[in-house]
């Protein structure tokens, strides 16, 4: 089908950038926040307006300029990109609301700078989602790294500085040291960097160079937090919670796995990888990350750190989905981008709400908090159900697809990994909920003196928790989009 040439993808990317001058010049915080909402709603609206066309099987594209011979700075909206963009742009609306409650609740400094860089980071995220080729994706990936650095290091204290160093080091060394040379090599081999259904490099590489290139990409996109290049993620938890919630549960990390997914499916292609037998290798890499991170999560007392390690594991589910190279596996990976996003963001919102209301950060100090903050902990419970993968939450659907995928790919050991890690997820989430709700009066550390988190901090997690449940019953358009995307990858 001929792609539709439309400027919508470009507008979707630029909406938040355009708002930045307004944010800087806004005199009153309420005006500033209103404009952030306007940008977020605008972005979501434009992204959503592209759904009908894409669901009908078309793609939208827009070429901005030529960067090198054979490589354009080009945006293309296909099913997979649209799925990711929908998730990110919707959750930005929710996170902006949450940010208001959080930043004002803690009286944070430099809020204008915060909202500006947030807007820039979302621009870059949508840019990655809508990239038509590897170089465009790299450009937006780098812009994302740079615009999230001030957000991670927002507190500007010593801890922020050392975490910022780690963040930057892992991400830049990966992108400049591994992805850039790999990209140049791909360009020299193929003459272009456009994503192609069936794999750009299909047929032009032999086994060993392909393996090196593949590993350079997989570990180079360190935002995907595949072990051992994962250590930046727990360090990035020094950021304010809205940052951790949206960026490190949704935008930044999903950009990482999105890039890895794209490279696996549209640069190398399932055919080539299957022929060389690299599927099981990638599955193994993902499996190691899943299991090790789950075990580490068990030992963390700081709630955000536990969530960080949980995220690391969940991200590798998506990589596992791609590595399975089968229809259900890939669909499961793509769906997990959406389902995990909603579930994890709920969990992070709850963690932040607890900090705003009580100042408590460690799980051991949260005994009995459920009685005082029932809505928050209720949302936390639902979020954890989704991440564990139990019905009636959306996470069940993506994990189900992944499980089918392991059977399709004849990798029953991965099925075992999935089941084991779900058990581990339960092991590190459910006790938190249990201790929060079910404890005696004498054990409870919160004797009736705190109330729920402020409204702006409470509504978002409740909303996303409800969404997680709704997604179980109505997984469209994500399910439809993922099916379309997989058809394109495997059939095209």
């Amino acid at each position: 089908m001929i792609p539709i040439v439309s400027v919508k993808p470009l507008i979707a990317v630029l909406v938040s950038l355009a708002v930045i001058p307004v944010l800087i010049s806004a005199r009153k915080p309420n005006v500033r926040e209103a404009w952030t909402f306007a940008a977020a709603f605008g972005k979501f609206a434009i992204v959503a307006s592209m759904v009908p066309a894409v669901m009908a099987g078309r793609t939208l594209e827009f070429s901005i300029t030529t960067l090198f011979a054979g490589i354009a700075f080009k945006l293309e909206v296909d099913a997979f990109g649209l799925l990711f963009a929908l998730v990110s742009s919707f959750l930005w609306i929710v996170t902006s609301a949450y940010s208001i409650g959080y930043m004002r609740g803690l009286d944070e400094h430099s809020q204008t700078r915060y909202f500006c860089y947030f807007a820039a980071a979302l621009s870059a995220t949508i840019g990655v989602a809508f990239s038509a080729n590897l170089l465009t994706m790299y450009i937006f990936y780098e812009i994302l790294s740079l615009s999230t650095y001030p957000l991670v290091t927002h507190h500007q204290d010593r801890e922020a500085r050392s975490s910022g160093r780690r963040y930057l080091l892992y991400i830049m060394v990966g992108s400049i040291g591994l992805v850039l040379p790999a990209m140049v090599i791909v360009y020299l081999l193929a003459g272009t960097l456009d994503f192609a259904a069936g794999g750009l490099l299909a047929g032009s590489l032999s086994a060993v160079p392909a393996l090196f290139l593949l590993l350079m990409f997989v570990f180079g996109f360190s935002k995907a937090a595949i072990m051992p290049v994962h250590a930046w993620l727990p360090a990035a938890m020094v950021a304010p919670t809205p940052v951790s919630a949206l960026l490190h549960a949704v935008a930044v990390v999903k950009v990482g796995v999105f890039c890895v997914f794209r490279v696996i499916t549209e640069i190398f292609g399932p055919g080539m990888l299957h022929d060389f037998g690299y599927g099981p290798l990638l599955c193994a890499i993902a499996a190691v990350t899943i299991l090790v991170s789950s075990f580490i999560a068990l030992s963390q007392d700081n709630l955000k750190r536990r969530l960080a390690f949980s995220t690391i594991g969940q991200l590798s589910y998506i990589v596992l989905g791609a590595a399975l190279l089968t229809q259900s596996g890939m669909a499961g990976g793509m769906l997990h981008i959406a389902m995990h996003a909603f579930g994890k963001i709920t969990l992070f919102f709850c963690a932040g709400a607890i900090v705003v209301a009580t100042g408590v950060k460690n799980i051991s100090e949260m005994t009995g908090i459920g009685k005082q903050m029932p809505a928050t902990m209720g949302a936390f419970f639902i979020g954890s159900l989704s991440v564990i993968g139990l019905p009636p939450c959306g996470g069940f659907i993506s994990k189900w697809h992944l499980a089918i995928g392991t059977i399709e790919a004849d990798q029953l050991i991965m099925l075992a990994v999935l089941l084991l890690s779900s058990l581990l997820n339960a092991a590190y989430f459910l006790p938190v909920v249990y201790r929060a709700f079910f404890c005696t009066e004498s054990e409870s550390l919160f004797a009736n003196q705190i109330k729920e988190a402020p409204g702006w901090c409470l509504a978002p997690p409740v909303l996303t928790a409800v969404a997680s449940i709704l997604l179980f019953f109505y997984p469209q358009p994500f399910l439809g989009l993922s099916r379309l995307a997989v058809t394109r990858i495997l059939g095209g």
């Binding site: 300029t65 030529t66 960067l67 090198f68 011979a69 700075f73 009286d107 400094h109 430099s110 170089l135 790299y138 450009i139 780098e142 740079l146 290091t153 507190h155 500007q156 204290d157 010593r158 922020a160 500085r161 910022g164 160093r165 930057l168 080091l169 830049m172 060394v173 400049i176 040291g177 850039l180 040379p181 140049v184 090599i185 360009y187 020299l188």
Partner: protein, 497 residues
Amino acid sequence: MSSQIPAFIIVVPLLAALVVNIAGWARRSLCFPTAVCALAAAWISTIIVMLRVSREGDIIYRMAGWDPPWGISWHIDHLNALILILIATVALINIVATRSTAAQEFPDRLGIFYCLYLLFVTGVMGIVITGDVFNLYVLLEIASLSGYALLGMGGSRASVSSLNYLFMGTIGASLYLFGTGYLYIATGSLNMVDIASILPTLENISLIKVSFVLCLVGLFMKMAFFPLHTWLPNAYSHAPGPSASLIAPLTTKVMLYVMIRVALTIYQPDFAFSQMALQDIVVWLAVIAIISGSILAWKQDRLKRMLAYIIVVEVGYMAGGFWLGNQTGVTGAVLHIVNDAMMTLCLFLTAGAIASRINADAFKHLQGLFRRMPFTMTAFMVAALSIIGVPPTCGFFSKWYLLSGGIEAGHYEFTAALIISSLINVLLFFRVVEISYYEPFDNHQENEQQGIQEASLDMLLPLLATAGLLIVLGFYAHSLVTWIIEPAVSSLFTGSL
């Protein structure tokens, strides 16, 4: 009249230098406007020349109408025209940006400063535009002498560093002259095109090889190519701000241009790359230059010295890229000449802006700069990203060509050195960012109430314009390569002039 425009490029700044010197005695307030008008006229002439070259092909301008090889002729092709525009742009932006600093630092010698400024610009423009090898030596020395004087205008440390630069630079220029002498002995001509047509017919190859090596070593000394770079860090870091931000972006890049011109136009690619068998040595030297320059930059604790060592690294990129010997590498080197001149200008202007507000240059004095001078630091970040090679700034695009060239030529060590130095650059620049962003560690809420103490507007606007140009050059890199650099490089490689 319009056919004389190439001459304006040299003559206008030259005459203006004289006028400015007199104005310096008579009425000091006239110095700056005269200089700016002269540079603006030169800039417009370079644009016209470029347009003419794109439309009609190479321009050959004969001085006083005498034919070569007896007369001196200037030969302008796409490559020259591009570098001419670059020089004119850098000179113009710099003179506007450093107006107040120059007035402050040289209150009684303003006329002399601008006179030397214009002489330097005349010299470098002349180097680029000429088609005669001896004329090139003369203009080389004009540029160098005014450069030494400009760099020595600071305190005593500047004089010592400049004298050291003078010694090394004179050796370099003399070696170039020596090599030219051998060329003259062999061919009897001083005109580049003429020599190029005679050289392939000669039999005494060892004479030509020696002349090439002499010229090359001389040029390496002038462009601060490792290991002949030792004059550069001192000379550039001790120099007064207005001089450093003119000379640092231009001198080494123009010498690189001369090397490209000498190797490709006079000696021809076949001889220069294949017969000389120098490629491997030079590329390895470039690799060492890149790595050692990066490590030495890391060890510095003052901003301008770090920037000076980064120039050494960049020269390594360009020289190594050229000596890869393939069209991609040469394209990357030429594009990097353009990009690096702009990046270096931006960085040195930033250093000047910071110096105008804070009287010290060591890193520990840069605390809290992001809050106090946000616009300056934004420009600094853009330039830093360009040096690191982050798209969409221009530095990424030239690095791409250099990387591809390295892989194509099989010089993987060069590619690896480029990647490693990009990573070290991340460390270098984020060290500055860390100090200026995080420290002092006391309450950030309070610090916000303190005002912004930005550099003055006449310094800030050119600085921001330069930073903007870095991004524009990035987006237009492909057009630049397709319309200007590729025609230049391919015609140099096929030998058609």
